[in-house]
């Protein structure tokens, strides 16, 4: 991500790094403290505006003609004649501050309107017209941003002589680029949006669509920008007046008041403090209002990965009937539940009572559509869910020893590794890949610098990256997707973990690359004897790699068993439907059978079969009672090939499968 100059200038005020963020994210709720401050700021600014407009009737004294005998009187607060005291010429400070507000706001608003209008028009023209017009406008804006702005302003005022119109024009000339860049960026971004494209396809004219959608998106961004600029202009005016290049005596300006009275600051502090406070509060209030208009500075959802979810396993007696009686699983999980805080106060139950075992060297496929809870359940085990997720389980065992989620999280990067779906975005973009692997080795294996480097190169070679020495020094962006996934695999196996969680590791890759990465995973798995939990929605992939499979639907396991037998004879209607909907080169069916209806969405805890609405076998019992995952009758007689299924009609499905 590189920041353009204009972004840098405006986002410094603590707004969202991207002033256009609303277009994509919609309005966010502001934290209450920001809102309250915002309202206070608006109230204060209204007060300043009212004072400026009605200065002549509000101000208790003349701002220009002082009473010399009353010079340098200290603030009388509520009792004295002069609320905030007088200056060296006997002029009332409060009155001068009120008239100063008028000066400041006249100049501020004039500049913002002038430069805002010009900048908006320039940005619209650049965005709409594109081509050389765009080039010229943006080049000028770029160059002007690199100008020594205030100095040029000073030189112009120096030769022209200070006057309010000159001041306004000179400051405005230096402010238009920010608006132009903003508007242009918004126009260009809107043009790329799907709905604008779609409307273009259907024959609407682009300008019309843009006009319709541009304004609602543009106004808040422009308002924010204008307020930030107003704050800046107020500061510039005050500074120029302070330097004697802005508002001239005897007129009142806050900056001028500070310079006039600076010599008396030690004997009459109020002459300098009061106008300065008025100035600082006005600028601060304007900045705060800009923050509110921008939709708040804090995006709670985006930022809380730093805090780990509080998961705890309560140690209870393991329900023997639901455990698979094969000795020595690496990891054994019972009744895992994950829920998120929903829109209101209700919880979204993403995972409901999932149990599984994984043995050393075994590849366990976890299959399901998006939203089935397959990724969430595995992420919860690793403790990488966003804040607000509640994770619980009846028991967790690692190599037969009961442990807590915290223990499990401590094993990350040593005994447990993970491979993600998109290899490119899971590598640090600014660190050479080899160093990232070496870093893992130094941390998990306590290797020295040189040893880690040598081993990292070995690992790169192991995952089939040609020229590992050379590739060690390269950055992620220099790798193709498949090569990057190989790097991710090297990273994951570097600590020689006992368990590897692979979350859709091939989904983002080309089909040919998929096959290579899969065979690499298989090879690495056999060579290092790692247990792999392989999460995917692709049945073809899982068939090629997994020894055993869990099929998940709506946050529950609906069927479990050895991959081969599961694929040959599904016992749950969902599994059967999933297989029927998957193309298979070995099976020359004429057409695929899509599953009717929409996938169930995780929500309230389900008390009946979640698949019932889409299932052709469903009867009354399915809609009333929840089927429990239990050992399938058909497999009970075959030890070692135990299958479990959660369906009221497993028998009819087995028969239907046999007759097909």
């Amino acid at each position: 991500m590189s920041l353009t100059a204009a972004d840098g200038l405006t986002s410094g005020i603590g707004l969202d790094g991207d002033p256009l963020a609303r277009v994509r994210r919609g309005r966010r709720r502001l934290p209450s403290s920001t809102r309250i401050l915002g309202y206070l700021s608006i109230a204060y600014l209204v007060l300043v505006c009212v004072a400026a407009v009605f200065a002549s009737s509000i101000a208790p004294h003349s701002p220009i003609n002082g009473v010399l005998p009353d010079r340098l009187l200290s603030p009388g607060w509520l009792h004295g004649k002069y609320l905030l005291g007088t200056d060296s010429l006997g002029r009332d400070i409060l009155s001068r501050i009120i008239y100063g507000a008028r000066t400041t706001l006249i100049i501020g608003f004039s500049v913002v309107v002038l430069s805002g209008l010009f900048g908006t028009v320039a940005g619209l023209v650049a965005g709409y017209r594109g081509g050389w017009v765009d080039q010229v406008i943006m080049r000028v804006a770029d160059a002007q941003l690199a100008f020594p702005g205030l100095l040029l302003t000073i030189i112009v005022i120096g030769v022209e002589g200070p006057s309010t119109p000159v001041l306004i024009v000179v400051i405005a000339v230096y402010g238009w680029m920010v608006y132009a860049r903003l508007v242009r960026a918004l126009v260009l971004r809107l043009r790329e949006e799907q709905f604008v494209r779609a409307a273009e396809m259907s024959g609407s004219k682009t300008p019309f669509i843009l006009r319709k959608h541009l304004l609602p998106n543009l106004l808040p961004a422009l308002m924010t920008q204008a307020l930030l600029e107003l704050a800046r202009v107020i500061l510039v005016e005050a500074s120029l007046s302070y330097l004697g290049l802005g508002v001239q005596p005897p007129h009142a300006s806050w900056g001028l008041m500070v310079s006039e009275n600076q010599g008396y600051v030690s004997q009459a502090w109020w002459t300098v403090v009061c106008p300065g406070v008025a100035l600082a509060l006005t600028v601060l209030a304007t900045n705060l209002v800009a923050r509110v208009v921008a939709g708040g500075a804090v995006n709670p959802a985006a930022s809380q990965w730093a805090i780990e979810p509080s998961g705890q396993a309560t140690a209870e007696r393991v329900d023997e009937s639901s455990s698979i009686t094969t000795p020595g699983p690496v990891l054994s999980v019972r009744d895992l539940t994950v829920s998120f805080a929903g829109a209101a106060d209700d919880l979204v139950h993403a995972v409901q009572g999932v149990s599984f075992d994984i043995r050393p060297g075994e590849v366990l496929g976890v299959v399901g559509e998006s939203g089935s809870g397959k990724s969430v359940s595995m992420a919860s085990v690793l403790g990488i869910l966003p804040d607000g997720a509640r994770v619980g389980a009846r028991s967790l065992e690692w190599r037969g020893k009961r442990i807590s989620f915290e223990d499990l999280h401590r094993m990350r990067g040593r005994d447990i590794s993970i491979i993600f779906q998109n290899p490119m975005s899971t590598l640090d973009p600014l660190m050479p890949v080899g160093r990232q692997i070496a870093e893992v080795l130094r941390k998990s294996k306590k290797m020295g610098r040189a040893a880690a480097r040598a081993r990292a190169i070995e690992l790169l070679d192991l995952v089939g990256i040609p020229d590992p020495e050379q590739r060690y020094r390269q950055f992620p962006f220099e790798f193709s997707g498949g090569m990057a996934q190989r790097v991710a695999i090297a990273l994951a196996v570097a600590p020689e973990p006992a368990l590897l969680v692979a979350d859709e590791p091939t989904t983002a890759l080309d089909v040919t690359v998929q096959a290579q990465v899969l065979s690499l995973l298989k090879e690495v798995q056999q060579r290092l004897d790692i247990a792999i939990i392989f999460i995917t929605h692709d049945l073809g992939v899982v068939r090629g790699i997994a020894h055993r499979c869990l099929v998940m639907y709506a946050g529950r396991v609906v069927e479990e068993g050895p991959t081969q037998s599961l694929f040959e004879a599904a016992q749950h209607p969902y599994t059967a439907a999933l297989i029927a909907a998957t193309p298979d080169v070995n099976d020359r069916r004429d057409e695929l059978a899509p599953i009717p209806g929409d996938p169930a969405v995780a929500g309230a805890p389900t008390l009946s079969c979640a698949f019932a609405p889409r299932c052709s076998y469903s009867t009354e019992v399915c809609r009333q009672d929840l089927p429990i995952l239990q050992i399938a009758a058909a497999s009970a007689t075959e030890p070692g090939r135990i299958r479990r299924v959660a369906c009221w009609h497993e028998d009819s499905i087995v028969e239907a499968g046999a007759h097909r």
Binding site: M1, S2, L3, A5, D7, G8, S11, G12, I13, G14, A146, F147, P148, L150, L151, L152, I154, I155, V156, I157, G158, V159, E160, A231, A238, S239, L243, G244, G255, V258, V265, S266, V272, G276, L279, V283, L284, A297, V298, N299, P300, S303, Q304, A306, L382, H409, R412, G413, R414, I418, F420, S425, T426, D428, P429, L430, M431, E439, F477, L491
Partner: protein, 306 residues
């Protein structure tokens, strides 16, 4: 890399050309330099002499030609007010301004980037609110007023630091802090925003899944990733300070840099000197941008050649 540097250099040269042309036309078209530079009631002979001296009797285009041929030879003309070569007058002041801006920038970077990092750890919580409020206040306070208040507190009352002039380190503290607060405020705020963004990036989640602690993730990975926007902003801050805020801060603290010289030149209506000051300031602005571009390029090898 060479192409990148060359392109940036060409861009910088174009900006310099634009600045020079702007100054040339502003001083000759918007006003009559002779009228500006001579005192009221000067004799026609004096005016004629100055017109001749500044070469204003020739056509605008031939003036432009002379102007540039002199520039190329490093001749910025003689200051009317000081009766000395303008360039050497500015040159004497450069180290002082660089000292001030360098110290200010150092405080802003070293002191405020950590503030932004701490604020980003728990957005919306107390620490974040306190830091954000502090930075926003720093951004909103006019430097000339802040400087005056610092003088009132730390020189007049406490007597810790001198209020004006330059000399040892003690003279540098107050002006540098005055310059650093608004710069640092903006730097901390952008650090916070980009850090918050980074925390939700997949690679950070992946680091977490590898069992890395927050401190390690920040030190070894995040800081490098947030450096590009921070450096870009810092270069603009440096440029603004050199060609703007420094004028104000130098005036408040009577700091003998070229900002103070600029104000004196305006007061003396010495256009020749002003031209030289703006040209030198623009040179520094362009250099600051160039350095930042190069630094970003080194940190982030993906940076496009623009």
């Amino acid at each position: 890399m060479t192409v990148f540097v060359l392109r940036r250099l060409v861009h910088g040269a174009l900006v310099m050309l634009a600045v020079t042309l702007t100054v040339f036309f502003v001083t000759r078209l918007l006003t009559d330099p002779v009228q500006v530079m001579t005192p009221i009631g000067a004799s026609p002979a004096d005016k004629a002499a100055l017109t001749e001296k500044l070469g204003l009797s020739h056509s605008l285009w031939s003036q432009l030609g002379t102007f540039f041929s002199q520039l190329v030879h490093g001749d910025f003309g003689r200051s009317y007010w000081q009766d000395a070569p303008a360039l050497s007058l500015v040159g004497q002041r450069i180290p002082k301004t660089l000292e001030l801006v360098g110290a200010g920038l150092l405080i802003a970077l070293v002191g405020f980037i950590p503030l932004g990092v701490f604020a980003s750890l728990r957005p919306g919580r107390l620490l974040d609110n306190v830091i954000s409020a502090f930075c926003l206040t720093g951004v909103s306070i006019a430097p000339f007023w802040l400087g005056t208040m610092l003088i009132l507190g730390f020189s007049e009352h406490l007597g810790w630091f001198p209020s004006a002039g330059s000399g040892g380190l003690r003279y540098l503290v107050l002006p540098a802090v005055t310059l650093a607060l608004p710069m640092g405020g903006r730097i901390a705020l952008i650090t916070r925003v980009t850090m918050v963004e980074q925390w939700s990036q997949s690679y950070v989640v992946a680091l977490r899944a590898r069992g890395y602690g927050s401190a390690r993730i920040i030190m070894a990975h995040l800081l490098r990733n947030v450096m590009v926007p921070i450096l870009t902003l810092a270069s603009y801050e440096a440029a603004f300070a050199l060609a703007g805020y420094a004028v104000v801060v130098e005036t408040v603290f009577a700091w003998p840099g070229f900002g103070q010289l600029a104000i004196q030149a305006v007061q003396q209506r010495d256009i020749v000197l002003l031209q030289a000051i703006v040209f030198i300031a623009a040179l520094f602005v362009v250099a600051a941008n160039l350095i930042a571009d190069l630094a970003c390029r080194v940190i982030d090898p993906r940076t496009k050649v623009a």
